[in-house]
Symmetry: D3
Subunit: 295 residues, 6 copies
């Protein structure tokens, strides 16, 4: 079971020149094969499906705990996309004014037809996220190897989307995810090392570009965010410190477990888009609604 | 952000005669178009995407809060499926003994090849869950109507899967979901009533069979579980009591908000399946692993 | 535009030993790549999309007219499937009696969960029909060649499904479709002959087994049904007689155009399946409904 | 069975500045999840699959009859798309002149490669229509609720596509569909009212913008087109007047049943696109073809 | 089994003004329904699946041999796409410089996120190639008819993509494929003629535009490349000369079998794209790698 | 380019009790996400897409060469499936005898409707192979890590399918693939070691069961087949010996490069299935066909 808080992981700056195609690109990191929907659902199902848990508790705790963190990643990306789509069409209530004219040339029309200029579980080409993206073989070594590869693939995608989009909203989100995804890469490498004795350090980083080349990521690493594993639970997943220990393979800093979770930031309140009827509640209706709700 | 607890919502009895095809049927409720993956992801994305939140806080709180509960539903169904698949093949380490012989005739071979006899985000025919199942138009009235329909469609599926599978593990899970899904149906009806003034009571129940005809559900309704809306958060989503109030459309009982969440039960520890190498950690490896972990 | 009649093309006998898996096999002919959904939608879109229509009217009339006939084919197959699924589970209103127990082992669980033991636009493996099955290149010669191939592929599938299912309901439907599909094969061969001068007769039949080897088809061919092209319209598509003329490539009989359409048969009234809540209208509700409808 | 007429429902003006991306947007209304392919196929299958028909004839008649109308909607949209794509590339027979150069940047390349600049059963992103879009549970109340939701979702999409495309061809088609889709929304609301007693009027309209804000729709409503239910059959579906009666929820006007169908308009004759070989019949071939056809 | 050579079939000129959208269009010919992945896999599976091979050896040899040639076609198109994508973004190692900025507006973002500006088994809209594209009924006449249609459909697509893209790299590849695909059309027509006696010559060409209208194809046909069937094997597939004989249906030239395969050209060495980390091997790493490889 | 030989890699014994469901299970290894279609196409595209080839020749040679071997693996599995489906229905030419009756209950109806009881590019649930299964990031380290993971995932699937099917035809094929796939796992581990210095030996084997536990694999390893890398080319891919050198991580034996390829075995001649019209050439037609072919 989970408990939910109305906080997001990153304090997202408002975009400067929001462009639908920038938002469409960021969708890859949310709903693509290597997007955060995939990391979230892979680790969630692997945690539910873990056989022999009591014998191998630290591994279970690690996977279950990272699954919990991934939820905040789909949340962060969704808000980034939402902000980047807000105000990208002409506001107004007259449909004849063709307020969505520029959406016709946008790469992703779903953002304007299926959603209210908001995020969807799709990739940068509009392909829906699929349950096929979940790998859960039940073999611990293979699942960990998969997770290590998945996170490296996700890292490559983050790097490339960063290079596509200069919008500060996107870069703040991606920079954060590079750091936290980096934590997960190290975690799965440590897990494989504990399980088999292999030393994966010589492979770091994959691809061969340091997070510190990304200013938003560097800032967070300077604050040590790449060294911290939160437990994302008040009481559970406490044996992950058996795996998350020792030094970081990139800078040799000491790895730290932080019980609970980061404080987070208030999520942005998204402006209405009246031309999309989103949310579509007219001012004149509000009094009556308020009476029913609060009266 | 979320916090995760190592508790599940239902105390699942161990199955009596576990059958792969029973487990395959239950997958519809997890990964089908009307399964809990769909309810979870619909409400999750609608909560991220909510425009004009501050103006319409009780509606946002309701959707965000139900999204949080749905997580426990995919968890419950996954554990039910896992238990129903445990031990359904011949245990042993000699591959030549054809330990998975009976899987050849099972309806869902993915359970034995892609997973370690565990749950996957697929439906009863093995089709993967798809992001296409998420509806998030941004128009509040339309999204609530969708959610009301989605929950009714989900209810019909639950009723039919219940009728397919007599296994007590499945019936305990489905009975619980009938009750809690029923809470969500009422919640979205109340939300529509508050938003528009419509009275949907005459339509209850959809389909036309009372939850109380299902013994496992009746027991829980006798305990009042159909009247309670948890907030699934220590501090947030507190304005849902503006919507979740008054009486239940089926029995006229009073609706109650319960801050936080139910206590829950320890998740089952799933037995190993050595013929599947799940988890595939041999006893002779354990000492060395323990040394690395704890040494 | 169309006009619809409450008649079906074939007088379908009730099944003798209805089996869910037989019905699942027949789905291939309805919703498979070479099923009647495909022929219907291919010719429908080709007729809408026809460029240079006035110059090539007989070809347009032929395609538009066959499209109209295909509607009766999806209707026929749907009713055949519906009859074959009726009564295949245990009737009754107590869900605890596991009335759908045998559906668990059925190849197609969608028939019992997504539908009320009725037809769906899916194939024999449950894969949904896809718009990808529509070919509409705009090049008349290529579209006609496609249609000729499509009908031959459809014929092969009909022959094989006939060989899988001995149920008289299915055989009556498939026998009819073999004859009428045979008309379409000849029609597209004649169209190609008129367009290019090619003589496709030496290729007949594809595959190499005469319709007359199928008793239900032979009976209809003895009545001459393989020689008749209906116009499926009171006033339009009258120039198809410029193409549908001369002799039949298989038996040399004369080809005939019949203005309008066959008389048809009353569709079967499908029994209720109370355990599926299909239609789910309880006797005690009927009086009130009647009052609203007729009062 | 159906009868087909060479008439379309709307007199479509020729486009002024045809743009491939405008046509690509309109595809959402034809082949999208909430497009007319979906309404057509949902009601068609629900009519074939109706259990207990004789007991509930007015409901069956209503669904079967609306299914018949939907055919004219896929026809109308297809012609609108076809007109909007006609002449959008450079005409000519020399392939080296790169006549399709501007198609390279078009959002939907299928219009130029797979089709002859014509309509396809795909959505605005090129995703093919899927049989998954058909809901046919067999439970009448649930199916009607689905249909009510489906039509409201379709209405939202129509409104948004209208706002994207100022082209008069598209607006004429969409304005017409807003009115006729509005008839269907009322029809399913009335059906639910007759079945259960629920009064859905307070929810109208969904989303909250009157059809009369769309000039092309307003003109048709001024003529009363939103009050008429055609039977789309000379002799059948006559009991729908038991449901389609009383007043319109938006303007209180009286609802009228009109036996048969509207007269309609001649479909446009689409120009050839020689660079696409559509239809690809060279003038020098015509004499020979004519001799075979008419000689 | 196969043997592989480091040669490609066409000497591809470097592109002049490489454009991502041109490359995206060419993908249709590689991974589309009628692309070379489809011809390769159709004939490959038909050759594996051939029943009664010894009785019908020339047909088997023909299909198996054409399958072998198709491999060189996916290779040619992949290299053409790769060349057309090389250098289309800003080279450099600083991610903050937004080196992939122009990819945001490209039609196919997968080329920049999933691949290193290289080819993928997808079509012009990014849809992945699917095994559904393989037709292998086992009925020889039907499979040959399919192949004849498939090649004609492929020819139409090639003609249209040629008309979209003026880039010499693409035109060299497509011109070559028009000629060799033309060989396959003739081959399947001859096979059908040998099997059934049908004469398909009157249908040539489909669509109705001679290869000789395409300068790059004309040049190759002037050299006689349209008359040659290679065996693509040193020792096998030698009975195809029983089918590939007589004259070419377009120009009456004599058909020739050439044992073995064409000499081919060295494949281009693709430049690195450092901003994509492709291949991502830094100069400073090379010495160490060389030591491990060659030391 | 390739050259093709009429030889297969394994001398496949005829099955003893061929069962359609056994064949359906083996399809996972051919067309599943981790099947040989995936390994073939991943390495094929990676070889076409390799950037900086001349600088990193041994890595290119290794990938290109393994791609060539994979072709023989799809061939082997296709023949195994074909043999296992041969004779599984009732032979005969009278369709009324319901010769395919037992196919109705088979898990994979495509084998009997879409194919002539032969292999298709689909998985064990009938899902078509998809181009989405190809990973080709262009980053060499990441692509090699992917390949290492892919082969380990493929190994797990092979082990499980082996445990499902006792049929000697299947076991001979799977045993062979376990050995050769094992070669590829070692190869990608060695490539990663050469590229980065990492030592992956401690992870072997994944999953944790030695190939030698599989009798058919043990026999081949006793012959040394796990130590040999063929070049699959007379002249190219010769620098792979820079990577394929040293000792085998499982048994310490010396790794050997063998120029060219194994000799192989004659492919089985598959019996006709007359009830499926496969190949559908009647004896009485043969004389005429022979006259056309050889006359």
């Amino acid at each position: 079971m989970i408990s939910r808080f109305d906080k997001i992981a990153v304090d997202l700056p408002r975009p400067k020149n929001p462009s639908p195609n920038d938002a469409a690109a960021v969708q890859e990191l949310l709903g693509g094969r290597f997007g955060e929907m995939s990391t979230l659902m892979n680790y969630t199902f692997q945690s539910f499906n873990f056989r022999g848990r009591n014998k191998l508790r630290p591994f279970y705790d690690l996977i279950a705990n990272i699954a919990a963190e991934e939820y905040s990643h789909i949340e962060t990306l969704s808000y980034a996309i939402n902000l980047m789509l807000t105000g990208t069409t002409k506001r107004g209530k007259d449909p004849s004014a063709t307020p969505l004219a520029n959406a016709t040339d946008a790469r992703n029309t779903y953002h304007f037809i299926a959603s209210g200029q908001t995020a969807l579980p799709i990739d940068s080409m509009g392909k829906p996220w699929s349950g096929d993206n979940v790998f859960s073989s039940g073999n611990l070594k293979l699942d960990l190897l998969h997770n290590f590869f998945l996170e490296c693939g996700a890292r490559a995608n983050k790097m490339r989307v960063y290079e596509m989009v200069s919008e500060p909203t996107a870069r703040a989100a991606v920079g954060y995810l590079l750091v936290r995804g980096g934590v997960h890469i190290v975690a799965y490498a440590k897990a494989l090392e504990n399980l088999t004795g292999v030393d994966l350090k010589p492979m770091f980083p994959i691809p061969d570009l340091d997070n510190r080349k990304f200013p938003e990521a560097k800032k967070l690493e300077d604050e040590g965010l790449h060294r911290i594993m939160y437990t994302w639970s008040p009481n559970d997943y406490k044996e992950l410190d058996k795996i998350w220990k020792g030094t970081h393979p990139m800078d040799g800093s000491e790895l730290i477990v932080d019980a609970g979770q980061p404080e987070g930031f208030d999520p942005p309140d998204l402006d209405e888009e009246v031309q999309l009827n989103a949310p579509g509640v007219e001012p004149e209706m509000l009094a009556e609604i308020a009476k029913r709700l609060f009266g």
